[in-house]
Structures are given as structure tokens and as C-alpha cells.
């Protein structure tokens, strides 16, 4: 059951009923959340924010990504050492992909064939062919590979390694590392801006986001966070997503329970939005109007209205929700 959040008491009962009374525009989108501790994927209808399916998958599902045609979901099942392929019509796991040990996060190449998987235990990025269902190659990277970000043209993969504290730029053509950029402590996510000129890397322990110029292969800006009343140590940037027009970035700040709204030009934080506990990952709706967050400790998904920057709903999902993607 989605719980509508009322911004102020003054809105009263009318406001409480508003979301129910006003006919919502039809939203075909479906939100998919991986639940690390339940070994399930929660499927949420975008229009009603009601759970339609809870699908059992392999153990410790974290990173999830949609196939190019949107008919399948690739799920890193870390403790099962495999990737589950979930069919989104029948809601069944139809087959597995080899992944190497303990897959955590993945990224799909624009060609729709090559899947790049971070193997936390082996210091490797495994490249899997999703059609052949076979490992193409393995690329040695730093200690505890984590974040995976493909440039929009698919030329470069950025992989972060949590204990090495680097973003590795990998040429997807040659499979070679072309640059290693030192970032803040315990880097997590790597996401590219739409024009492919810069990518952002969040550092969980460093408490910052490094903005890296892809051409220069160096850090050109750093986003700093300061949440009033929250100890600096609790501000741990993890998942990030850009607004549809690219003007803003939404950065999940972990146990500070906030999502920061960052101006992508000035790199200044515009505001902090209070969401659920230990907010980990974020996803944007296809129409750009909503941001969905997974809150790992409060076991819910928050919904942010990008027009008003209000947190409008909290949807209880499974235990320790981790990844989130939106299917059109």
C-alpha cells in the first residue's frame, strides 16, 4: 500500500484524498526494485504505486538492469554467483547468465549484447554475451569493483573500485584500461551525463562526488555535501541520476536519509530531500517527472516529484531494497 505523504497539516483531509480523487494520467511505467535480504524483485505499477508482483530470484539480488528492448531484467544474484534473467511478461526467471564470483553491479552496452559485471570478490569486471550466454572476457581492476557506468556511445566503461579508490576508464573496444582516476574514499556509483562529456563518481566514505572530464580523464569538479544537523560521517553519496534536461542531479546520501538535488553546472547543492532510511539508489521515470529511491533500512521506496521537489509517497517493498529501475 502506498502511503501518501502530506507536506503540511494545513492541507488536511482534502489533500489526503486528492491523490485518490483526481484521475491520474495513465502511466504505463513499471518500477522494479531488488530486495537484497528477501531474494525477490518487487514489481510496482507506476500509476497506482501498488505492488503487482513479488518475484523470487537468486540470493542477494542487488544490481539490476533492463534489456534494451525492455522485455527482460538482468539481476545480479551475488550469493548465487550468477545473473538471473527475469522475463517481464511471465515474471519468471527464464535462464541464468554466467557472471563470475559475487556479481554486484552491472551495465549493459548500447549494443544490447555485452553485459559488464563487477565481481566484488575477484577484482574483475566480467564481460558477458547475453545471447551466447557466455563469458567473453575478464578485465582485472582494483580491489572490490563496484560502480559500472557506460558512456552513452558505449565506447567507455567506467568501473569504480571501492578499496582502491579509483575510477577505471575501460575502452570497450579493446577491453583495456585507458585511465585510472583517483577519487574519494570508497567510490560507489559511476554515471555519465547524457552528452558523454563528463561522468560523476560518488564516494561513500569520502562523502563527495567527483565530476570527471572524460576527455581530460581527470577530476574537474567536486560536489560537497553538508546536511544541517547530520554528522558529516553519515553523509554517504551512493546512487545518482540526472534530470531529464540534465540540469540537475539527484544524489542518494545513504544513512543521512537525504537525496541531494545538485545543479550540474555550478555543482552546488540546491536542496536536501528527506526520504527513507539509508537511501541507496535512485531512478528517474521515463517522463522525467518522478524519482524513485530505494531505502535499505526502512524497507521502502520513496517517490520524489521533480516539479515540486516534494517527497510524495513511500511504498513499502521487500527487506533491504537495493536497486531500482523503471520500465517504460
Amino acid at each position: 500500500m502506498p502511503i501518501p505523504l502530506i507536506p503540511g497539516a494545513a492541507y488536511g483531509v482534502a489533500a489526503l484524498l486528492l491523490p485518490l480523487l483526481i484521475a491520474q494520467p495513465p502511466r504505463a511505467e513499471t518500477i522494479l526494485v531488488s530486495n537484497e535480504k528477501d531474494n525477490t524483485i518487487t514489481v510496482i505499477d507506476g500509476a497506482t504505486l501498488k505492488i503487482t508482483h513479488t518475484v523470487p530470484v537468486g540470493e542477494r539480488p542487488r544490481g539490476i538492469v533492463l534489456s534494451r528492448d525492455g522485455t527482460q531484467l538482468y539481476v545480479c544474484a551475488g550469493d548465487s554467483d550468477r545473473i538471473d534473467v527475469l522475463d517481464l511478461a511471465t515474471w519468471r526467471v527464464v535462464h541464468h547468465l554466467p557472471s563470475g564470483s559475487d556479481p554486484e553491479l552491472l551495465a549493459l552496452h548500447p549494443d544490447g549484447k555485452r553485459l559488464y559485471v563487477a565481481n566484488e570478490d575477484d577484482n574483475l569486471v566480467t564481460v558477458v554475451d547475453v545471447q551466447q550466454r557466455a563469458v567473453l572476457t575478464e578485465i582485472p581492476v582494483g580491489v572490490e569493483p563496484e560502480g559500472m557506468g557506460l558512456s552513452p556511445d558505449g565506447r567507455f566503461l567506467v568501473n569504480t573500485s571501492e578499496t582502491t579508490n579509483m575510477a577505471h576508464m575501460i575502452d570497450t573496444g579493446s577491453g583495456e584500461i585507458v585511465a585510472n582516476v583517483l577519487v574519494g574514499a570508497r567510490p560507489r556509483a559511476a554515471v555519465w551525463e547524457a552528452d558523454g562529456k563528463r561522468f560523476w563518481v560518488s564516494a561513500e566514505i569520502g562523502g563527495t562526488v567527483s565530476v570527471i572530464d572524460a576527455e581530460a580523464q581527470s577530476v574537474t569538479g567536486t560536489v560537497e555535501f553538508s546536511v544541517p544537523g547530520v554528522p558529516r560521517e553519515a553523509v554517504q553519496p551512493v546512487g545518482m541520476v540526472f534530470s531529464a534536461d540534465g540540469a540537475l542531479a539527484y544524489v542518494a546520501l545513504g544513512p543521512s536519509n537525504r537525496v541531494a538535488v545538485v545543479d550540474t553546472r555550478s555543482l552546488e547543492v540546491q536542496r536536501y530531500l528527506l526520504v527513507g532510511q539509508r537511501v541507496w539508489n535512485v531512478a528517474l521515470s521515463p517522463d522525467g517527472k518522478r524519482v524513485f529511491t530505494t531505502n535499505g533500512v526502512s524497507n521502502d521506496m520513496s517517490v520524489i516529484d521533480t516539479a515540486t521537489h516534494r517527497v510524495t509517497h513511500s511504498v513499502p517493498v521487500g527487506r533491504a531494497p537495493w536497486g531500482v529501475v523503471v520500465k517504460r
Partner: protein, 395 residues
């Protein structure tokens, strides 16, 4: 002038370039004193012979994975001696071999002995074994960094937890070993600090010695019940038994039903088996895959020591021991230790500031500092000896 500057810049770049192209090597020493193993009360967890050094080896391996990208290579030169007399010669050997950073897996007495050797001048010692508060206070040395939390930090971590839960009245039982007395002293200091009350204090003198006989449990139960009878009302029993000789025998046998904490029961510690938060699962797995055993606090401290060296070398872009040692102590140094927050060294006593876990055998119960224990600079400094109260005057 600008031409000179430009030339200097070119030279600097030329000088820096080979450091990346060719491999720069930093050798870290590991100096250990192996102590004859004493089997603790429980036979379930026999102490491994390689505690500590396995953590250092994993730390070096992790550093080298990073080093592949930075052109840095880390070697570990191991010297583990069985005789306290052999510690000083082993240090001299390491020093003569050009080593300037040494992981010290030594009891306090030997640590001080080697720290005060003339050959130790210019060396940095990374203490991974001795939790003694004296080493962070009156006996502190400028060139010793402490990776393991001090007894005061452990006691404060527990004290904050007890205060937060309002379990303010403590029965303190301490054993006969020197470490037990120091642990009990740390608990007393914590009690004063957080306004807890030690309502009764008793030394443990009973040696059951018969736990393998068929009715051994009966004797222990009867003895603990007698031992804890007729005492002032208390909320919790705190035991000080660092060797694990009897502390596990207290729980469930007290006259009043009271939880047990301290060296057994709910244990304040830098590392514990149930810890899997903040990515700790990865370190636990990596360690187990290598060693076929669990990571212990000393392993974790030694891993941290190597990682501190590696992190400083990465950030300083140098494998010069002086540059690395300076970077470790510099403001802004941040070490990730699977505790959810950046760790750094206190400049007043060389202690690594870090959260302390509170764990029972199979469950991570809490992590201190507890919410609400505020600090002007870092909440981590609510644990252990803070700057205004330090008795350390570096020499």
C-alpha cells in the same frame, strides 16, 4: 624567472614520470613476537598461530591490486620471533635492510623496547597488538601509530551503550591477569565518564579446572551463583577476562538474571565475525578465502596498517617512507575500514579514531559512538582519550 620555473616544472614532470612507468617499491616490515598459545575456556575457537600476519598479507595484496594502476608495489618483510630477547635484533635487521615502516605485533613492553632503540629513530611503528592506554598516554611515542582501539575506547564504547540503554548499575568482575586489571581500570574510568555506577566489584579467583569432567558444569554453575549472590542490585555484569579463561562461564549462572558484557558476552571490539555492514562481508570473505579461518581483531588491525600505508602512498603518489608516514598523519587523511565512516589518526596520541563494534558471538548488537554522544569536532573522539585529557607528551 618564468623560464626557470618552466624548466623546474619540466624537470619535476620528468622526475615524476618514471615513478609511474617503472615500479616503485615500498617494503613494510612485520615484527611479531609469537606467544605460546594458551587454550581459552572454550575449545570452539582455538587461537590461530598466524593471527595478525594474515591480515597484513591481505592488506599488502590489496595494496598491490591498486598498485598495478599506480606503478607501486608493496612488499612485506616478515620477522616473527619466539623469544622476547629476539625482538630488538629483528628490528635492527629490518632497519639495516632499509625498512622504515614496521607493523609491530608486540606486547606493550616489547613495543616500547624497540621504539626506544637508537635504530628506531626515523622509523614509524604501527601497533596492531597492544591495547594499553599507557601507550597512548604517559608512555606514548611520537613515531608509534595505534591501529587497534585502546582499552579506553573499548570500555567507552560499552559504557555509551549501557548509558544509552540506562543500564547504569554495574557488577564488575575482573580476573587476575595484568590485562584484566587494566581492562577493569578502563571500565572504572568509563563509569566515571558516563555516570555509570559500579555497585560492586569482585576479583575472580575460582579455577574450576574440571570443565572436561562429566559434571564440570555443575561446579561452575554453583560457584558463579554463589559468587554473584547477595550483591547490591545491578543491571549488568561486566567481566574483565582478556584471555578467555572464565568469562564465558558467567552468563546464565548468575544469582540474578543479568546480561553479561565486557571481554565476553556483549564485547566491544574492532572486528567481529557477525560484522557484515558497510561492505564488511567482502573483507570477511576475502580473508576467509585466503586463510580458511575468520578474521580476528588483530588481523583487522594489521590489514588496516597495510591499507593505511597503501592509501597514503596512493594519495602522496610516493613510496618514500617519509612521505608515506607524513601523509598518514596529515589532515584530510581518510582510511576506509569497513566501519561506515572515514578513519584517521589522532594527532595527540597517534591512535586511529574508529567506531567500535558491540557484538555477541553471533550478532552485531550495536556500534559506538552511540547516537547522542556529541563532540565538538568528531563524534569518534567521544571514544577513548580525547585531546583535552591526554597525558601524552611526545618524545
Amino acid at each position: 624567472m618564468p623560464a626557470v620555473r618552466a624548466l623546474a616544472l619540466v624537470l619535476a614532470l620528468l622526475a615524476a614520470a618514471p615513478a609511474i612507468a617503472a615500479e616503485a617499491v615500498l617494503t613494510v616490515g612485520y615484527l611479531g613476537l609469537s606467544v605460546p598459545r594458551v587454550m581459552p575456556n572454550t575449545y570452539l575457537d582455538p587461537p590461530p598461530e598466524d593471527e595478525g600476519i594474515q591480515g597484513a598479507r591481505l592488506g599488502a595484496a590489496d595494496n598491490n591490486t591498486t598498485g598495478r594502476f599506480t606503478g607501486q608495489r608493496f612488499l612485506l618483510e616478515e620477522r616473527v620471533v619466539a623469544d622476547p630477547e629476539g625482538v630488538a635484533p629483528a628490528l635492527r635487521e629490518l632497519q639495516a635492510g632499509g625498512i622504515r615502516l614496521v607493523v609491530a605485533d608486540l606486547p606493550a613492553a616489547q613495543l616500547l623496547e624497540v621504539a626506544d632503540l637508537p635504530e628506531a629513530a626515523g622509523l614509524t611503528l604501527l601497533n596492531v597488538r597492544a591495547p594499553d592506554d599507557a601507550l597512548r598516554n604517559e608512555s606514548c611515542r611520537r613515531d608509534v601509530l595505534h591501529l587497534l582501539p585502546s582499552r579506553a575506547m573499548q570500555a567507552d564504547a560499552l559504557g555509551q551503550f549501557l548509558a544509552a540503554r540506562r543500564w547504569r548499575n554495574i557488577l564488575l568482575i575482573s580476573g587476575p591477569a595484568e590485562g584484566d586489571k587494566l581492562y577493569a581500570e578502563a571500565i572504572r574510568r568509563t563509569a566515571r565518564k558516563f555516570q555509570l555506577r559500579i555497585v560492586a566489584e569482585k576479583p575472580w579467583t575460582f579455577d574450576p579446572g574440571a570443565r572436561r569432567t562429566d559434571t564440570g558444569h555443575y561446579g561452575i554453575a554453583a560457584e558463579v551463583a554463589r559468587f554473584t549472590q547477595g550483591l547490591p542490585s545491578h543491571d549488568v555484569v561486566v567481566v574483565a577476562d582478556e584471555n578467555g579463561d572464565w568469562g564465558d562461564d558467567v552468563a546464565w549462572r548468575t544469582a540474578e538474571p543479568r546480561p553479561v558484557a565486557g571481554t565476553q558476552g556483549l564485547v566491544p571490539t574492532s572486528w567481529a565475525r557477525p560484522h557484515e555492514q558497510w561492505g564488511a562481508t567482502q573483507l570477511q570473505r576475502r580473508f576467509r578465502a585466503r586463510t580458511q579461518r575468520w578474521m580476528l581483531p588483530r588481523d583487522h588491525a594489521a590489514w588496516l596498517a597495510l591499507r593505511a600505508v597503501g592509501e597514503a602512498a596512493t594519495r602522496a603518489r610516493s613510496t618514500e617512507p617519509e612521505a608515506v608516514a607524513a601523509r598518514m598523519r596529515a589532515a584530510g587523511f581518510e582510511l576506509a575500514g569497513f566501519k561506515g565512516v572515514p578513519l584517521s589518526f589522532r594527532d595527540w596520541d597517534g591512535q586511529l579514531r574508529q567506531p567500535v563494534l558491540l557484538a555477541s558471538d553471533r550478532s552485531l548488537v550495536s556500534v559506538s559512538p552511540q547516537p547522542g554522544f556529541q563532540h565538538q569536532f568528531s563524534e569518534l573522539d567521544t571514544l577513548g582519550t580525547d585531546k583535552p585529557e591526554t597525558r601524552c607528551q611526545f618524545r
